[in-house]
């Protein structure tokens, strides 16, 4: 617990410090001017190794920078703004009291400083701050938990790319968006060749690692906001490409195919090559009201099937005709 006392009078600082110490508040810092206080609070300066301050006691009447100006400055600093400020003011100073409250002071004590009053106000403000901090902390934890939860519902646990559920939602959204703008949408489905044999040869642990590496290749291919890389099934991956024609989809599928091969993951169980390879099928269409994303998925699946039929480790492309 640290209390910062800002007062231009050494005598006043010493008095307040002594009362606080006798009242059990031993952590105090003192500043004889606003500038000195800014340094302690890290205002206008580096925030490195500044001490956490829990409460500020601030004298209103000070030469050069007065208390009002100091409150405004403190309240405009992102780090210091949440520190509660109690003003210390002479009895007859109602005008500046009013201004100080407007600037965000939380309470005030009058001079001459009275022990009972000072300790009571400090205690209540610190209790309030403790409560507020605790609630803020709980809120932050709740928000973080919600974020995590949200992540878990859209992310594939093993590979870290989108899961099937997110794929379905995303495709639906992009389908409608491309429908609205009359743009082509492409979908690539890719399968690791002879993955079952890979698992049989190297074990499931190695299989999982292989899936992770393939996923990161797919993810790199999803470069724009309308693109999405997802794990579609066991060893099957999907890539949604908004506003993308057949030729460009074929190009991207080709790049993924090359990138997977260039990982040079040994695969002695493969009948295609001695490294891990991927077969890919790309399909393209212009969404229309008479069609659904399902047809695009089926076409991509058909293209993937052809790639496998034609010897795997290759790309096949299907462009759906425009229907009215």
């Amino acid at each position: 617990m640290e209390i910062l006392i800002i007062d231009d009078s050494k005598d006043s600082i010493l008095l307040i410090e002594t009362i606080l110490k006798k009242g059990g508040y031993t952590g105090t810092q003192t500043a004889e001017s606003a500038l000195e206080a800014y340094k302690i609070l890290g205002i206008n300066a580096s925030k490195n190794d500044i001490k956490q301050i829990d409460l500020i006691l601030l004298d209103i009447v000070m030469p050069e920078i007065d208390g009002i100006e100091a409150i405004q400055k403190i309240k405009s600093d992102d780090f210091a703004r949440d520190i509660p400020i109690i003003m210390i003011t002479a009895q007859q100073d109602d005008q500046s009291l009013h201004r100080a409250f407007n600037c965000g002071a939380i309470d005030y004590i009058k001079k001459p400083v009275n022990k009972v009053e000072l300790l009571a106000r400090v205690r209540s403000v610190l209790r309030l701050k403790y409560e507020t901090d605790r609630r803020m902390q709980l809120m932050r934890e709740l928000e973080e938990a919600n974020r995590q939860l949200k992540r878990l519902t859209v992310i594939d646990g093993l590979t870290g790319i989108s899961n099937r559920r997110h794929f379905d939602e995303f495709l639906e959204i992009e389908w409608r968006r491309n429908l609205r703008y009359n743009k082509k949408i492409s979908l690539i489905l890719g399968d690791i060749d002879y993955f079952k044999f890979y698992n049989d040869t190297y074990g499931h642990q190695a299989g999982d690692n292989c899936l992770k590496k393939a996923a990161s290749v797919i993810e790199k291919a999803a470069k724009r906001v309308g693109d999405l890389a997802a794990r579609y099934g066991g060893e099957e991956f999907a890539l949604i490409l908004s506003d993308t024609d057949s030729a460009f989809a074929a190009e991207i599928a080709g790049e993924v195919n090359k990138s997977v091969a260039s990982l040079r993951i040994p695969h002695s169980g493969s009948k295609t090559d001695d490294i891990v390879t991927m077969s890919l099928g790309a399909a393209t269409t212009i969404p229309s009201n008479g069609k659904s994303p399902k047809e695009l998925i089926e076409a991509a699946d058909e293209a993937l099937y052809r790639a496998k039929e034609n010897g795997r480790n290759r790309v096949e492309v299907i462009e759906l005709p425009r229907s009215e």
């Binding site: 231009d8 009078s9 050494k10 005598d11 006043s12 010493l14 008095l15 002594t18 009362i19 006798k22 004298d59 009447v61 030469p63 002479a90 001079k111 001459p112 400083v113 009275n114 022990k115």
Partner: protein, 109 residues
Amino acid sequence: MGNSDTSDSDQIVIEADEDLEEIIPGYLLNRRKDIETILEALDKEDFEKIRIAGHSMKGSGAGYGFDAITEIGKSIEEGAINKNVDEIRRKTDELSVYLDKVRVVYAQE
């Protein structure tokens, strides 16, 4: 805090909070230094310095239990604002006499 007893002409007894026992002697000593500061500033007609000294006394005196110091500080501050040399001298003398006479007894509050 601040009960004063002036029936004995040589002593003014102030009852202060024992929590302040460590800092009160130093506080009173600093007021002696204030007197020197004020008199020197008066020679140089540095009224701003005097005003600050008076203002500071006004703000701190009663807090330490010395209402009289607050009152004297207030008068010195006003004297400095009005550049009233006589008033400043008179109040500085009054402070000097007060400091000679004051005796502090500490009590639990």
